[in-house]
Amino acid sequence: MTQTVSRPEAGAQKAPLPLDVEAIRADFPILSRTVRDGKRLVYLDSGATSQKPRSVLDAERDFYETCNAAPHRGAHQLAEEATGRYEAARATIGAFIGAPAEEIVFTRNSTEAINLVAYALSNAVTAKEEQFRRYAVGQGDEIVVTEMEHHANLVPWQQLCERTGATLRWLGLTDDGRLDLSDLATVVTERTKLVAVTQQSNILGTINPLGDIVARAHEVGALVLVDGAQSVPHQPVDVTELGADFLVFSGHKMLGPTGVGVLWGRYEVLDALPPFLTGGSMIEVVRMEGSTFMPPPQRFEAGVPMTAQVIGLAAAVEYLLALGMDRVEQHEKALTAYALAKLAEIPGVTVIGPPDTVARGGAISFTVDGVHPHDVGQVLDDLGVEVRVGHHCAWPVVRRYGVPATTRATFYVHTGYDDIDALADAVRKAQEFFGVATPVTTREAG
């Protein structure tokens, strides 16, 4: 392709990539378009939302063209087929994370899945059914989060605390972008009702040592919710190994459609929670005086669900399984190592987050001395390199590291070394454009 021959460089080694990038790119129709006057699209924003392979689009279209009907409602043939496909998709998606189908609840996205749990915990306070009051959160209770959470895994817990009088506590960060677990035992205590923590940071790339956190939480009887929005798409995740009580993730970040997310919950925990949203499809018996509810997962799926999107997400899971999640992880690890080395070669560029690939995923945030991230992003965009700029919905993180915002590149299965070379070249162009490039010779000298 457009790959330029590069001199062997000390830091930036191109290890063989486990995935066949050219073949994969051919599966993504959008990657053949150009941007900004004919530039090749270098999509480095999969962390915000991923692009979709044709098989996902086909699965959605096929559902609408062949058996569209409301699942779990009606007894006609189409409804039966729609229900069959919807439930088969649930089983496929569950198996992907090592969970039985009845522990998989479909939501709109990770954000809604987290809100579902947060509202269930406060609805538990006033639930008339004894069985639903087990996890009620109230005054004197504590919820623990970390300073690296996405707003989606922070604001719902702040709000839960405001509704119930509980207290929010958090684990801080170290200077190299990791969780500071030195006070784990004093932050997670007998008062803790739930610990909410991300598996992979969307801004720092850090992969957290969940084992220690889960062990401590369970020691004190607290529930653990893992935000898998950035891990499930990029590494093998098995809930039986995770040991947590909840896992959330978003379909749109893992090659699936928008409008579908997943809440996995340990069955006995789900079964003890009252509903979040109520209405059709989640009830057992309705009388004017009151209603009773279905067992999980139906209890948490009020209304006609996002059937086509769920089926599309199952197709995405099949696509990822065919590639192999181990290989996806290794592919991104090789890209991350290369990108960190390439960025380290550019004077004035500072990576915010772990500097190497140890316990680190592929989200790379960086600053460029003398150029605001918005301006970096604008120059990159002009060259067809699409990254995200800003606080990445993790405002406390940028504040913690004393920067107003960062530029962030994220990778996926179609990312190749040529994309990262384009990124590094574009960053240098941004420095030149804003007149902050140090006249360097290292590129030639290697």
């Binding site: 605001h372 991230p373 918005h374 120059v379 002009d382 107003p404 915002a405």
Partner: protein, 160 residues
Amino acid sequence: MQLESMYQEIILDHYRNPHGRGLREPFEAEVHHVNPTCGDEVTLRVHLDGDRLADVSYEGMGCSISQASVSAMYDLVIGKSVPEALEAGEHFMTLMQSKGDASVAEKLEDELEDAVAFAGVSKYPARIKCALMSWMALKDAGARALSVAHPTTSTGGQNA
């Protein structure tokens, strides 16, 4: 590259050497505005002499567009009455909505002086907010300063 159409030399000059930067006394109103999508911030003070803007002082962090915009605004509004400054703000808003239509920029050249250089920003919807932030802050601070200066005629709502 289309970049030059957005980052006019005038804009880069204002960014590198901002006019009127720094918070000064005296002032009748101070506001703090944030662009929640990117975290850019500006703190802006207004000092009136009668109904004229005797000083607009500011401090902030943000991208070149937001920083240059506040500097160009400073040049444009000092000495104007608050209503005149708000009218300039309306013109600037019109420019931001012009989607790169050069004829709009041409018509507003006299009214906007250096600020007309931001015409190229109107082609980039994601950046329009950056250019507008300081103008929004000025509108807010101007109204507050007037309500301090003329409490009885204000529309500030404290008479409700």
